[in-house]
Symmetry: C2
Amino acid sequence: MVDIATRVYNHNWKIDPIVRSVLDTDFYKLLMAQTIFRRHRDVRVTFGIQNRTTSVRIADLVDEGELREQLDHVRSLSLTRGESTWLRGNTFYGMRQMFSPDFIAWLESFRFPDYHLEKHDGQYVLTFEGPWIETTMWEIPALAILNELRSRGVTRSMGKFELQVLYARAMARVWEKIQALKQLPNLSIADFGTRRRHGYLWQDWCVQAMMEGLGPSFSGTSNCLIALRREVEAVGTNAHELPMVYTALARHDEAAMARAPYEVLADWMQDYGGNLRIILPDTYGTTQFLAKAPSWVASWTGIRIDSKEPIEGGEEAIRWWETRGQNPREKLAIFSDGLDVEPIIRIHRRFNGRMRLGFGWGTLLTNDFRGLVADDGLDPISIVCKVVSVDGRPAVKLSDNPTKAIGPADEVERYRRVFDVERQVAQPVLV
Amino acid sequence: MVDIATRVYNHNWKIDPIVRSVLDTDFYKLLMAQTIFRRHRDVRVTFGIQNRTTSVRIADLVDEGELREQLDHVRSLSLTRGESTWLRGNTFYGMRQMFSPDFIAWLESFRFPDYHLEKHDGQYVLTFEGPWIETTMWEIPALAILNELRSRGVTRSMGKFELQVLYARAMARVWEKIQALKQLPNLSIADFGTRRRHGYLWQDWCVQAMMEGLGPSFSGTSNCLIALRREVEAVGTNAHELPMVYTALARHDEAAMARAPYEVLADWMQDYGGNLRIILPDTYGTTQFLAKAPSWVASWTGIRIDSKEPIEGGEEAIRWWETRGQNPREKLAIFSDGLDVEPIIRIHRRFNGRMRLGFGWGTLLTNDFRGLVADDGLDPISIVCKVVSVDGRPAVKLSDNPTKAIGPADEVERYRRVFDVERQVAQPVLV
């Protein structure tokens, strides 16, 4: 029996929206937004898209009109009643009322601000200017849209069975990875793949496959909408934008600049406890950050090891906790940079039993279509949406891997001096 | 929008029928049935199921009640108006009106006869007794039901995503095979996989994948229902049951027995021309059959090489045609025994340009789930439904591979003498 109404409704779609909900974003965005809402609502922060895989000319693959339609659709979204109810009533990290009523009221009234879009040299120059609390909300949907429009562009010309086999292969690949990970004792792994996902439906599939395949070893998804719909944990903590903006705000006073990343933690500690107290130390170099950290920082629950080579970063964290009189076995180390089965197994083998481990598996979970179409046309790209400027002045990230550094050269040099960071070794960035 | 009526309808199913149409059978059954209808309607022939893979105890895997439900459902089927219209109006092998009005009228009135079902030593003893024209119709649906019930039994306990990945893997495997075959010039390949299929929907998927993946190199399907629904060629010619019954009918006169396989061809030639004139020479040994064949047999369009090792069988056919003053380049050799990509490529490499080639790809197209579940539980089994007796006397097949011989030992010995067949070399039977 054909449901005529459904068919007619489907035929009347003007576009097939990629992002259909304010909650189709990473949980850490909401946590950070609440911290920003309480302290820095009026700081003006510009975010900008940067495709580090310059060999992939996205502007040639993705139609500008379609991109505008998708971005405009996001601007028409607002938090629904059920979504608001979920934020108010759900338990996050074991806590009720993680979000205060005034923040949720703000989120209910939130609409995405305007965007600026140009093309330059085969890439889109896509920026978001305005109050930090608003522009920060664009990071994840903008990235998800660009990645999914690219996927759609590549798959558009494929036959029905060719497509089915493409997804069949990708499914078998994800499932094999899950079967390999299942063998690891005490595994705790989450989906961190919203921003670079092949598509929303694909991320949703991957999450459900992890639920069935990993059972309790699957610790949740960073995606709020999928967490809501699939009734799993929403996970995530914070990102480089906090120290980047805090430091830029202190730009007139180099001593204040050097203190700024710790002030992020001091503010965060007022807002969140327990497993949300995870240090992200690499914005201006991990080693110096840890060496100069106030004593209370060592009492935090754990650390996220991101741009540093993971074995090195893990060993450094253990040494640091020991120096500070902490027991690394009680600490949580979250690994999240370019993970896939092989690195996860390697990290797990090295550190299991020496620290509590958590893995945030991103791009190579939700977008591993490597080699599945001609010319590697669906291989994931390293695309980010980062803070470009704060109150009109450039923002800077150094990171442990200079390939990931952000900011004008002279500012990068100044930050190196302020944060006492020597020349670092560049590592290739896969995703 | 939920279509409530469809959901309620679906919930009201008593069983999920495996065979839903009289036409869900192989095309050669209809061709043979017409020949039987015209000449031997009243011969009583018993067909019986034999599982040559005795290590798989089907009676332990398939519930007897469910098997009876499926068989009883087949007994409730009759040719629909649209199916009858298709048989009357469609072109088969380039011909209109392949089936005469009286035969179609008979098929419209046809109902499947009763069956006998017992269990013995972990296997079902399933036999069909009655007029040949009726019992012959059971071969394909009975096999399809047993194979699909086994698949259902194995997959019943699997999780939703585990199932999806199972089919994803099987799809990727079929697609890789299709991509490999696509490289062969002048390829002509058909689906012969109804009887041993994993399931109806899976066979239907495989046919559609071949349509998209192989284009004009895909020559059709043996399955009439899929041919009708997917609008592709229905293909197939004849089987061992014709010489087996004809020879058994001549059992009182050994000279008549020796002539019987050629009388099959003489009758067939009255009914069918062109590409349907394909000799199946191996019922009582290919070599002797060809050596003793009347001269008109060599003028037939081609040969089907089934139980003989295919390279040997092909070379033997070429030599025979040359001896008989025929040009092998104009002849068609159809290979159909246990085919898969590797043998197809090997046979194609050896004979392309020397004969016209056709491939009938069966079990390893529509049921290659080898190694995809634990304990190889979905590996295909070698199960057949063969003529057991004719007018109460045993039927015999020798074949080129004694592993495939059928009949009581003393009768097999007698047939060897009548057909001048020496001891043969046994080959393992995979499918």
